[in-house]
Symmetry: C3
Subunit: 278 residues, 3 copies
């Protein structure tokens, strides 16, 4: 990937203020909204089935996150997703906790089967569960056995490419090393901070940011997702670098939003650690 693509992807978000309709969990929804605003997008949250058709109509894309799914909000996800499909809007699916409960695994699978999902963003355990593989999860965290490492990187990339080929979606698997792939190409992203795992919502925020990047970069979906993933990781590094001796995950969360807000295209290109995998 040419480095300039990352800056361009971010510039396109900032230039177009993509409206992203989010149906997401109530745990991290505030952070999701502020992350979208920080990066240059605009959030609208609506999950009521009667409301979502109209809301999706005025938006550019849809972020679906099953972190605190309930029967009503899942119905809203399908209604909104069908409308997004009619309008050709990007849909980003975050299968939070797939593998941890039958309802989550089934719901994530149904959403993927029935909607025109553009991007799947989750940790490896969740994505494996979604792909129907034998997977166990430790709740909403990745199972240690599933973590992407330098040792299993090629195999992980092959899995991501294969799942992208099967689903037609870009697959973004995030963790200590992130993988972003479509059916043809896969990239490793080595940005990020371990403290991101000590706040709630880093993944949820990224999912919404991915949606903004997808909406703003329709002609370069894969590249836009690499930019979103690298941008969030770089923001995590900046946030960690700001931490003083009394700071913990409370301050880190604030600094992470701040870093997204201040994220600069040149700094993104300079700081992104993106490698195309063979």
């Amino acid at each position: 990937m040419e480095p300039f693509a990352l800056k361009t992807a971010l510039d396109n978000v900032r230039a177009t203020t993509p409206l992203v309709h989010c149906i997401t969990n109530y745990v991290t929804v505030n952070d999701c909204a502020n992350a979208l605003l920080a990066v240059g997008g605009s959030p609208i949250m609506s999950d009521e089935p009667e409301d979502v058709n109209d809301i999706q109509t005025i938006c550019g894309g849809l972020a679906l996150n099953i972190g605190t799914l309930n029967v009503r909000s899942v119905e809203g996800m399908f209604v909104a997703g069908e409308r997004a499909g009619e309008l050709g809007h990007a849909i980003v699916l975050d299968p939070v906790g797939a593998g941890a409960s039958a309802l989550r695994t089934r719901t994530a699978g149904d959403l993927l089967d029935k909607l025109a999902v553009s991007v799947i963003r989750g940790n490896m355990s969740e994505v494996k569960a979604l792909a129907g593989g034998a997977s166990s999860t430790r709740g909403v965290d990745v199972c240690p056995d599933d973590a992407v490492t330098e040792n299993n990187l090629a195999a992980s990339a092959a899995f991501a490419r294969g799942f992208a080929a099967k689903t037609g979606a870009v697959v973004a698997i995030t963790g200590a090393i992130d993988i972003v792939a479509d059916a043809e190409r896969a990239f490793a992203v080595r940005n990020g901070s371990a403290v991101m795992g000590r706040i709630t919502g880093a993944g949820c925020m990224l999912t919404c940011v991915c949606a903004a990047f997808a909406v703003a970069n329709p002609a370069a979906l894969l590249e836009s997702q690499v930019a979103a993933v690298a941008g969030m990781g770089l923001a995590g590094q900046v946030a960690e670098g700001r931490m003083g001796g009394y700071d913990g995950n409370g301050s880190f969360r604030t600094y992470l939003l701040d870093a997204l807000y201040r994220l600069d295209g040149e700094a993104l290109e300079a700081g992104a650690r993106v490698e195309e995998l063979a």
Copy 2:
């Protein structure tokens, strides 16, 4: 308006700790609760129809926000609102996204028709939609064509006074320039910060703060709403002034709550930029 009214309005909040029952969206609800606490009020959130009658009974007022409305919570709004009406409690209505979906426009209109709404607080697009005018919204943000400017200020004030006359409510339209009006008088408030539009919830927080000011100042409703609007705007200015080179919307949000917490009556009078419009 005599300047002392602003300090008095704030003092009355701090002296009486008004309990405000909030039925509000799950995106910004935490900020709403902390904003109420910051300004000297006390929040109680309850939206279950079976619960809201009792909760409203022990509170002094009600804040209704349709930002993430659903069928159950809307039912709770009506039950709570009818109880508030029986008890003569102030009701503040925030028609989030009115104009953006049929459900939101209709629900906001029904709430206004059937409840004894004391204050309507929204952006111009939302308030126009509520007033039945031809309006378009950009999701939960004001449509650029609707923004209050120096050029349309007199017409905007006339609209606000007219809608106040029709509804019997104080109308608070916030944006780059805020307008607060009843049927007789209208005020422009020129406080605030552009960064308030880069966090989620500045409007939602203000709605709850307006409710606290209304409850604590029953004999001076209009003045109390001017004080709430100017106070929030001034807090935004203080928050922006605190921002350093690494700070973004994460820190701004924290600073905004801090500034509400530290808001001082004398500083409010000195800093409020309130003008009565002819």
Copy 3:
């Protein structure tokens, strides 16, 4: 209580990363998740009745908070609670607003009657309401008449021990002075900061932290709850100590999470003001 127990209780949390299933209110749920992460636990939120059985199965304990109860989430509480009982998992009950509405009082009572509750954590008004005594509450805050003071400390401790004997649960009543008791012993904890009452969620966060401590210390439930209560109080003191002249409840909330994140076993033992009551 030997001082070393406090450090051990905290060390056990950090060493085992207890997964806590939370069914809690949407006001403070983000802070609850971040507080659990700060202290060394891991949160999973799920309230859908169809989902909670599976989620509870993979967790170590359950935190139930009725702060924004609704019919669906209450059903989820019973399903999750029954599963927790089957598995011998710790259940911590936070009867938010018991006494403030009939629904809350009845729901809290039913949860206590039907589930194997390990710990009850609330303010004195809520716990009195749960115990069926004549109590009034000021919404979600303690009624001034109910506050634990040096003057009524012995009687308050006797009440807590009695309620613990009746329910089989550890009773943690928090306020200016905290009381933690089982049927045999009662402790006063004199840590904490008045600013904790100026943010939303200090109690809710503590409830989740109590659950993590309960899960990680099955052989020393009472001691673990004293450690959790003292640890949260000490974090409040550290947070207050960090506040500068512009800081308010926004910064305090961040500092509180930071202090939980940085909480050190030796500092906890040195700073805990725990007294066993006769």
